[in-house]
Symmetry: C2
Subunit: 254 residues, 2 copies
Amino acid sequence: MSGRLAVIGLGPGDARWLTAEAQAELADADALYGYGPYLDRVPARSGQARHASDNREEGARAVAALRHAAEGGKIALVSGGDPGVFAMAAAVCGEIEAGPPEWRALDIAIIPGVTAMLAVAARAGAPLGHDFCALSLSDNLKPWSLIERRLDAAAKAGFVIALYNPVSLARRWQLGAAFDRLGRHLPATTPVIFGRAVGRPDEHIEVAALASAKMVTADMATLVIVGSPQTRVLARDGRTALVYTPRGMAGIDA
Amino acid sequence: MSGRLAVIGLGPGDARWLTAEAQAELADADALYGYGPYLDRVPARSGQARHASDNREEGARAVAALRHAAEGGKIALVSGGDPGVFAMAAAVCGEIEAGPPEWRALDIAIIPGVTAMLAVAARAGAPLGHDFCALSLSDNLKPWSLIERRLDAAAKAGFVIALYNPVSLARRWQLGAAFDRLGRHLPATTPVIFGRAVGRPDEHIEVAALASAKMVTADMATLVIVGSPQTRVLARDGRTALVYTPRGMAGIDA
């Protein structure tokens, strides 16, 4: 069995956050699989087949890429951001476990990338400078009560919280409910960062206080970061404010 | 004031995880600042000054870079991994807040990178495929009791946990104590991933069960990921196991 499947993180936005490794893997692949808009970000190369699929078809896309790899050849499955964070890498592992034994013999490579919260954080300053967590607000799989429990735990313990999948066409009330829930534990002034379409021409970064965060529009392309009580907003004349969470004094691990 | 300071994430390991943006910023800088081993990873360019400093001098390094930027010119401050995750970006923001007003007028750019937990996760499979948190085990600043409270909260709420700064020359017992603490909440079989020197020639990835994790050697170059009760280890004949945390069924946000 000589097949190889590389699950490749493109980073968010355009090619600025593509790594050298991801670029080399993309150039080397016989065929590409992925959600259409992600595939569109990869320059065309003659002789390289492209299989675009819909956003909802995560499992089917993983199966198709694994089947193709099992026939031999070098297959690339592209993912936005980092493939390991709420994205394709776990889906591929799950399909390997559920699939035919020969899929376990495939050469599987996960190629990391810049995940959305890192790019949004960079645009805002350094809100993830201290302990933080990443939580998907999608209750398509997990019950909303579990999401509430995780929001409570994270806020009470002082983690900064990055919210992935805050909103979708079918999930419109969850983000507001999450802000309400966090408001039980966090000061009304806690900074909340909305990073929309980061790294794309229509990028928009907005910072609001938790108490008024429900007034800010978020959509499927938005990543939300809710600060901790330690997170600071540093105003700057003529420049956007810097939002950061102090790491503290320089120590031996600086 | 025309000075610019770019705080640049090199990613962990060698140049494979350097982004196109980071590469361009490095090439464009008049002077580079950073911890010596990180600076050594940047190809030399004639006319570009280099100011290496010790690991412990985080605050002083930020101040030196800000001072230089305030004199005009394009300064790059390099950081391993992502500068926003337990690294230089928050230190720079803190020094700007504490420093002279003119520093607030500087053009500050944070250039994101692949942070260590993403690279280690990619090597192991997809352990960060569902809700997770990142926690520094350094008690140089925060009290150990707070770290325990965060470990408790994260484990009880079902987050996968990435541990940064697990060990240093001066902090030898903390990682074992953290495993003991997590063992109160998590099954003894919970997979623990040790990623040492990821992306370097001496890279070493090891997976152990939580109950025996204290037997594994970790050092300052190690990043540890502790699974959740949902994290799975998928054995493969002739290949390393894949460790992953299922994201679940394909949904509208896949």
